[in-house]
């Protein structure tokens, strides 16, 4: 997804101003003029200024002043579903893994992606199980990372 330079600039102008306003509120040590707020204030001001420059240079450019261009592949249902599935796989690991365990979430998310990417079903199942097992062995067993455990993981 592409925004025109003026829109991007406006976005950073707003972020920079909010950051500056927040940064000036950081408490200072009594008697110490330079503290927690100085550096982030400068950064916020810098972002706002750069955003302002971008708004101006965007107005001069030939492309639309407030155009939003959506990637043609993202407009197709196929591209959109692909992107949504990637994000959904990550979200599943954030919200579901704690409930049903790492291995089932990994197998299901891999399976969904493989099938959507038109990998033959038998291969999809094999690679999904192998992928989940590999990650479990490498991270949970070898590196002792406390990956979320559910009913399947408590078997070993």
């Amino acid at each position: 997804m592409q925004l025109s330079d003026s829109l991007m600039g406006a976005l950073f102008l707003a972020i920079g101003l909010v950051m500056f306003a927040m940064a000036t509120q950081f408490p200072a040590f009594p008697g110490q003029p330079y503290g927690a707020s100085l550096f982030p204030s400068i950064l916020g001001l810098g972002l706002a200024l750069s955003g302002l420059f971008m708004v101006f240079s965007g107005f001069k450019s030939a492309e639309g002043r407030f155009a939003v261009i959506i990637d043609p592949t993202l407009k197709t249902a196929s591209g959109l579903v692909s992107a949504a599935l990637v994000v959904a796989a990550v979200l599943a690991h954030i919200f579901l893994a704690g409930l049903i365990g790492f291995i089932p979430v990994t197998i299901l998310s891999l399976l969904a992606l493989f099938v959507w990417f038109r990998v033959p079903l038998v291969q999809s199942i094999a690679f999904a199980i192998a992928g989940a097992a590999l990650c479990w062995i490498l991270f949970a067993v070898a590196l002792e990372v406390p990956l979320p455990r559910g009913p399947i993981e408590s078997l070993f």
Binding site: L3, G35, L43, G51, G79, V86, V90, L110, W116, V145
Partner: protein, 506 residues
Amino acid sequence: MVSPDILWQALQLVLDPEVLLVVLCAGAFGMFVGAMPGLTATMATALLVPVTFFMDPIPAIAAIVTASGMAIFAGDIPGALLRMPGTPASAAYVEDAHKLALAGKLNLSLGTSLLVSAIGGLFGVLVLILAAPVLAEFALKFTSFEYFWLAVLGLSSAVFIASDNALKAGISLLIGLSLATVGLDPTSGTPRFTFGSVDLLAGIEFVPAMIGLFAIGEVLRGAIRMNTAAPLPQVPPTKGPLFAGLGALIMRYPKNILRSSTLGTMIGALPGAGADIAAWMSYAFSKRMSKTPEQYGKGHPEGLVDASAANNAAVGGSWIPALVFGIPGDSVTAIAIGVLYMKGINPGPTVFLQTPEIIYAVFMLFILAIIVMVPLGWGTVKLARRVLTIPRRILMPLILTFCIVGSFALTNSPYGIVLMLCIGLAGWFLEENGFPLAPIILGLVLGGMVERNFLTSMIKSDGDLLGFFERPVAAVLGVLVILLWGTVIVRFVMRMTASRTQQAES
């Protein structure tokens, strides 16, 4: 001069079986990632970091050094076979490499890349070994003023030299520096930009952020185009020994190799500019100096020799500012520096004094990585056709899972995954809009150091900005920064007035 005792200690650190195993595995991994079109050397490093988190410092560095070096060479393989550069560093000469392959000279093309990459890589490492200790001794006298200016100079050159749109690169850098301020303020302990979240108090974890920036974006891009992408073109056949006739070719262009290795090392040493810029610049320079510039892009080995030497020389060069000042030369060294910080080693001149064996072990690792590169590269070229048939539709979901687990492993909680997703989506959006990502990671890694040195300097000089110029080296660095910014602003104003008069005339 370094004592034999230290060299012996360093050698023992390197020749540890665990380190050797790591070098081999990371090398094979780097070769694989580099050889897959669309997976970059930075991504190879980013995917390795969660694993290195659990290693000792030396094997961790070994893994990063080997994988990134291999990936930069391996990027040449799909470039030659399919006209699809495996990494951006191979893009400059992809036309020449592919046309050579089509003409039945695939072995000449890849063999040249491999051997010249090794020579360029060794050159960069030699400069690193000779220059770093001398610079470190000099840098010992530096105070917060010098470090502040040095960091600003490095970050400014990352913005102005290494990118074609300085404004966007500047915004990327400010985003990175701003992300570094999230969490408890190191001097006063005030929470900043935490929005009441306990997780954010510890700051933006560097590894999930980096995986998000350099891996999630690529996965997302690959996924969106997966079902519409054209199938890979046919691979031209290979026969015969890889290194036949190479001696003569290398003997024909010794000056080119020397020139481009020097140029590549220098560009690598500039903060923010890495192997890809080194390859483009030396290719362009080679074309301008060549007796047969019209042959470039049509399957001429001369540009290939130059750019292959330069991109691998840049790898060594980029470690000079990283090891000596703790200021990374490109995104790969930025990642490596982040890893060193996690291991409790703060890169900078004092490391050369306190633990010189670590520094010399790193030097030896570089040489070892280049030695390993030749046989591993030979093997990868031989296996390349099979590697390239591994379908991306199987690889991408597996990489995604690896990113998720890697981010989780750093925080031992879903917070790492949340961070990776948010920064990954933001990074993808920024890159789609032409904002470079390397300055973000440079800002995130260097933010703490810049702020600390800035505040210390402000307090020391009592807020007097002239105090920043009182020490001679600081003054020189400060003037350099002002000159750099001055030229950019003058050029910007001249361009604005030129376009205005043009508009008025039309």
